[in-house]
Symmetry: C2
Subunit: 575 residues, 2 copies
C-alpha cells in the first residue's frame, strides 16, 4: 500500500510540503485540501498586484515557467491531488481520518491518512470596534480580497484610504495605493512608532519621514476608536485624535494562527492559538505535522516560541516537514526574524532583536547606530546606509542588525550577512572580521557592517561614550526635558561652512564650531565644565575626537552616534 499523506491548506507551506514529499517518495499518495478555490499563490506579492507592478493576479499563481498552479497543474505536473472548496471539519486521530465537506456541493467525506500535515495558516486580526463590517473595510486575508480592492480602484471608487496598522503590510499597501494610483493614503499606528518591535525608533522615524515625503500621512500613538459609514459604506475613521475621511479602509493589525482544528483534535496549541511542534515539525500526535503561519516557531535568539507568519519560513518549514515525512531526520533550527521592506525609493530591513526587544527579553543589550557609505566614498552614486547593531554587553554576542537605505540590495547584503552570523551565534568580533567581498563599486574596504561592529567593540570596551539620537533631538529643541541638559553644549567638528548654519541658529553658547583638523591645536578653548556633544556627519570623526580629548584629560564629551547623516533622514525642522 502506498503511504497516504493528507495536507490541509494549499497556499504556501502546504504545496511546498506536497511537492517535495512527492520528489522524495514518488509513490506516496499526496492530497491537499483547501477551502478556497485559489491555491498556491504568492501572498507576499499582493501589494505589488494592487499597485499594478504585477498586472494580473494569475502571475501570483504561476510558476517561473509561466504555468498556472491550479488543481490540474498539481495533478499533472506534480502528481498531487488537490481538493479545493473543501473544508476540513474535524480530525479523527484514532481512525486516522479527516472529515471534510465540499463547500459548494455540501457533501461530506472521510479522508484517510497515514500522516497528516496541518498548514492551516493564519487570519488577520480585526479590531473590536464599530464599523469593521462596513462595505469597504478590508483585511488582506487572501487573494480574493486583493482582487476586490483592485476592482474598486479601477472603477474609480476609491480616493482616500486609511490603513490601520503601521507594520510591513500596512506600509506596502500604502505605497501600492499612492505610487501608481495617486490615492490619498493615511496610516494609523497605535504604538508610538511604525514597525514596532521590528526596528528601533530612529529607523522607524527614517521610514516615516520618507513616507511623508511621498505623501503618505502617518499618525503614530493613536488608537482607532470606530469606523463610520453611510448606507452601509465606509465613510470615515475615528481615532483618539482625529476624524479621517475614507472610502476604503485596510486593517493590517497582525494575524492570528488558525489553530482551531488542531485544538479540537486535542493537539497541543499554545494560548495564542499557535500549534506546538517539535524540531521535526511534529505536533503532539507524531503522525500529525504542522507547518507555516499556524505553528509556534522557536526564536533562535530568545528560545521563546510564537507566530512567525513569513512566506520565507513557510517554504523552509515545508521542506523540513517533507524530509521528515520521507524519513530524513532534518531538524528545524527555528527563526531569527529577518525581514526587508520596500517603501517607495527606500528600504528598511532587520534581523534578530531590536534594542527594545533585546532588553525586554532580559539581555544586557546595547546598540550603536552608524552612517557609513554603501560603497567606496569616491565611487559615483555611493550613499549612506545607516545601520544599527544590537549586541550583548556581557557576552559580546550579536543580537540584531537594522538597516535603512535607498531601494536596491545594499541593505539586503548587510542584513543577510548579519542573519548568517546570528544563526551561528557570532560575537561582535566575528562581525568585525567577517570577510565581506570588496571592490569600490560594491562596498568600502571595511564594509559598513564590519565598521558597525568596530563601533560596538569600542562601546563595549568603554572607549566610546555616546548620546542617543532621540535624546539629542529632544535636547536641541527643548532644554527643559532633563536637568542635566542645561549643561550640554554641541561641539560641531564639521567644516565651518557646515557648522556655521547651526551656530547662527542656536548661538555660540549652545553650538560651538571647531573643525576636526583643528582640535589638536585648539582643544584648550574647550570648557571643562560643560558636557560636550561631539557632532559630525557619521560619528567616526567624533569618536576620534573623543579619544583625543580623553588623552588630554577632557573626558566630559559624548559622541552623537550616526551623526547628522541619520538625523537628516529623520526629518527634523532645524537641519
Amino acid at each position: 500500500m502506498n503511504k497516504k499523506i493528507v495536507i490541509i491548506g494549499g497556499v504556501a507551506a502546504g504545496p511546498k510540503t506536497a511537492c517535495r514529499v512527492k520528489r522524495l517518495l514518488p509513490n506516496a499518495e499526496v492530497r491537499i485540501i483547501d477551502q478556497d478555490n485559489l491555491i498556491s499563490y504568492g501572498g507576499c506579492g499582493i501589494p505589488y498586484y494592487i499597485s499594478g507592478d504585477i498586472s494580473d493576479e494569475n502571475e501570483l499563481r504561476s510558476t517561473f515557467f509561466h504555468l498556472i498552479r491550479d488543481e490540474a497543474f498539481f495533478s499533472r505536473a506534480k502528481g498531487v491531488e488537490v481538493s479545493t472548496r473543501t473544508r476540513a471539519l474535524s480530525i479523527d486521530r484514532q481512525r486516522k481520518r479527516v472529515l471534510v465537506e465540499n463547500i459548494d456541493r455540501g457533501g461530506q467525506e472521510q479522508v484517510a491518512y497515514d500522516q497528516l500535515v496541518l498548514a492551516t495558516g493564519s487570519r488577520p486580526n480585526l479590531l473590536p470596534i464599530d464599523g469593521v463590517d462596513l462595505d469597504g473595510v478590508f483585511v488582506i486575508s487572501d487573494l480574493h480580497q486583493a482582487i476586490f480592492i483592485k476592482e474598486r480602484i479601477i472603477k474609480g471608487e476609491v480616493n482616500q484610504v486609511v490603513i490601520i496598522g503601521g507594520g510591513a503590510i500596512g506600509i506596502e499597501m500604502a505605497e501600492a495605493f499612492v505610487d501608481l494610483w495617486g490615492l490619498k493614503a493615511t496610516i494609523i499606528e497605535f504604538m508610538p512608532q511604525i514597525m514596532p518591535r521590528l526596528v528601533d525608533w530612529e529607523f522607524a522615524k527614517m521610514l516615516e519621514n520618507h513616507l511623508g515625503e511621498k505623501g503618505v500621512k502617518v499618525y503614530t500613538g493613536e488608537g482607532v476608536t470606530a469606523i463610520e459609514g453611510e448606507n452601509g459604506k465606509v465613510r470615515r475613521v475615528l481615532t483618539s485624535q482625529r476624524r479621517l475621511d475614507a472610502d476604503l479602509v485596510v486593517m493590517a493589525v497582525g494575524v492570528r494562527a488558525r489553530g482551531e482544528l488542531a485544538l479540537a483534535a486535542g493537539l497541543m496549541v499554545d494560548p495564542q492559538n499557535n500549534i506546538v511542534v517539535n524540531e521535526r515539525m511534529q505536533t503532539s500526535d507524531p503522525d500529525i505535522y504542522a507547518v507555516g503561519d499556524c505553528i509556534a516557531v522557536r526564536n533562535r535568539l530568545t528560545g521563546k516560541s510564537g507566530i512567525a507568519p513569513m512566506g520565507s519560513l513557510a517554504n523552509r518549514e515545508g521542506r523540513i516537514v517533507a524530509d521528515n515525512l520521507a524519513g530524513i531526520p532534518t531538524r528545524y533550527q527555528g527563526g531569527i526574524g529577518s525581514f526587508i521592506l520596500k517603501a517607495f525609493d527606500c528600504c528598511v530591513g532587520a534581523t534578530g532583536l531590536t534594542l527594545e526587544t533585546a532588553r525586554a527579553e532580559g539581555f544586557n543589550a546595547a546598540a550603536v547606530t552608524t552612517a557609513q557609505s554603501d560603497r567606496a566614498h569616491f565611487f559615483p552614486n555611493q550613499t549612506t546606509i545607516p545601520l544599527r547593531l544590537v549586541f550583548a554587553t556581557d557576552t559580546r554576542r550579536l543580537l540584531g542588525v537594522q538597516g535603512f537605505g535607498p531601494m536596491g540590495d545594499a541593505v539586503l547584503a548587510r542584513i543577510n550577512t548579519a542573519a548568517a552570523l546570528l544563526t551561528k551565534g557570532a560575537t561582535i568580533d566575528d562581525v568585525s572580521q567577517v570577510e565581506m567581498a570588496y571592490a569600490p563599486p560594491f562596498a568600502t574596504a571595511q564594509d559598513a557592517l564590519n565598521a558597525a561592529a568596530n563601533v560596538a567593540d569600542n562601546l563595549a570596551a568603554g572607549r566610546l561614550r555616546y548620546v542617543e539620537i532621540k535624546d539629542f533631538i529632544t535636547w536641541v529643541t527643548d532644554f527643559s526635558g532633563r536637568p542635566d541638559w542645561a549643561n550640554w553644549v554641541a561641539l560641531d567638528i564639521r567644516h565651518p561652512n557646515e557648522a556655521g548654519l547651526l551656530v547662527a541658529k542656536f548661538g555660540h553658547d549652545k553650538w560651538l564650531s571647531i573643525p576636526y583638523v583643528e582640535i589638536r591645536e585648539r582643544y584648550q578653548e574647550l570648557s571643562k565644565n560643560k558636557i560636550m556633544l561631539i557632532i559630525c556627519d557619521a560619528g567616526t570623526r567624533s569618536w576620534e575626537t573623543q579619544a583625543f580629548l580623553d588623552g588630554v584629560g577632557l573626558k566630559n564629551t559624548l559622541v552623537l552616534g550616526g551623526g547628522l547623516n541619520v538625523i537628516r533622514r529623520l526629518g527634523v525642522d532645524w537641519l
Copy 2:
C-alpha cells in the same frame, strides 16, 4: 616617555594602523615612513580613475569629508608624523632602530622605535620576457603609474591596449579602457580560463562571454612570449598563438610581497617572500609587527598561509595590529578569499574555495550550479543569478560559493552571506536554513542561496545525479569525445516551442522533447537503454523529473545543473 611606534609603509595597512593606534594610545608617538610622495590612497580605485568614473586622482586620496590625506593632514588631524620620500634601508633589532634615507636629499637617519610595524606591501610581478622595459609597458604598482597611463590616453596616444593577465585587475583595467575611452583592449591569460583559481570554469566563461559582448577580446591558454617595440616604444605583443598590435601594455600577472627588509633583519619570511606573523600580527621578533600585502595570511578553510593582497584585509589587519600595539589582545582569524568584481554591466563574486582548489587541497568536494531568480519571479526586473556552491561530501561543510549576475548588489548579498557562514564553519544544512530577509522586490521566498544548498543536499544524499555543464557542451557539439557519449540523448522538458528549435537542430534521436507537465503521462515512451540528459532552464524541473523517473524504475537519467540559463550566458553558438 611616550611609546614610539614606527610604521614602514603608508598606503593602506600602515595608515590604518597608525590612525587607530593614535585613538587607542593618544600619547604614543606614531610615525609613518614611505618612499613615495603619495600616501594613503585607495589603490583599488585605480581602474575607476583611469576609466574616468573618478575624475581626479585626489579623490582617491581624500577622506569622505573631502580632505586630502597628505602629510599635513596626518599631522594636524591624526597627530601622526609622516616622512614621505623616505626609504627604510635596514632594521637594527638589537638597538631597536630603523636606518632611513631621504630619497631627494640623500641624508640618512636612525629612527628609534619601541614597536615597529612593517606595512611594506607588494610589487607587481614582471614576466621574464623581452620587452618588459619598453616605454608603454606598465604595471599597476602605484598611483603614479595610473596617472601616467591616464595622461597618455588623454593625449590620444593610446588606441590598442594589450593586458597580460586575466585576473581581477586585468579585467577592471580592460573595462576602464573600453567603456569610456573606446579603446581596443585584449586580455591574454596563460591559464585555460580567466580568473583562474578564483572561480570555476562556467563562471569564468560567463564573464568572458560578457567581456566579448562589450568588445574586449580574451585569449586564454596563451603565454606571452615577448613584447616588441620600435624606437624604444611598445608596438606589439607576441603570444604562443598570435601577434597583437599594442601601443600600451598592462602587465597584471599577480604580485609578490616586499619581504626583503624583514628578511635582511633576520625575521621569518616564507619562500614566497611573505613575512610570517602570528595571530597577534607579530613577526618572529615580538616587537615587530607586519600587516597588509607583505604578510602570509592563514586561509581559514585550508589552514595554509599565503599572500592575500586585498585592500579589505589590509584594513582589517591594521585594526588588529593597532589593538595589539595598545595591549588589546585581538586575534586575526585569517582570510577566506572573498571578492567581487564589476565588469561592465555584470559582476562576478566568490568566497571560499572553488571546486578545483577544494579538490587540490584534499577535500572530498562536490559542487552544484543553480540558476535561480534574484527576486520573486513575478516581480518586474527580476533576473537569474547563477550560483555555484562547493561543499565537502563527507562533512557536508560549506567550502565556497560563486555568483554571477547583473551589476548591482544581488550577487554581493549572497556572497557575503556565504562568507559569514564559511567564517563560522557552517554546513550546507545551515545554508539551507539561514533566514535571509525576504520580500518580493528583494528575493525569492527561499533565497537563491538557500536553494543552492537544497540542491547540494539532494546531491550529497545521492538523490540527484547530474552532468557537468562543460561535459554537456562538449557532448552537444561533438559525440566523439567519450565512448559513452554516443549513448546519450537529451530529454528537453521545456515547452515544445522552446524545445522545438533544438529538436530541429539536432534531430529527434539526439534531442527528445516531452514537456514537464506530460512526463507522468508519457514516461513509457522513454528508452531504458540510453542515458537521458534532462534539460530545462534552471535545473529544478529536471531534478523533479529525475525523481519521478527514478520512482518508476527509469534510473538512466542525468540532470543538467543550472540548465540552459547558465549555458545561454556562456555564449555557445547553438542556443
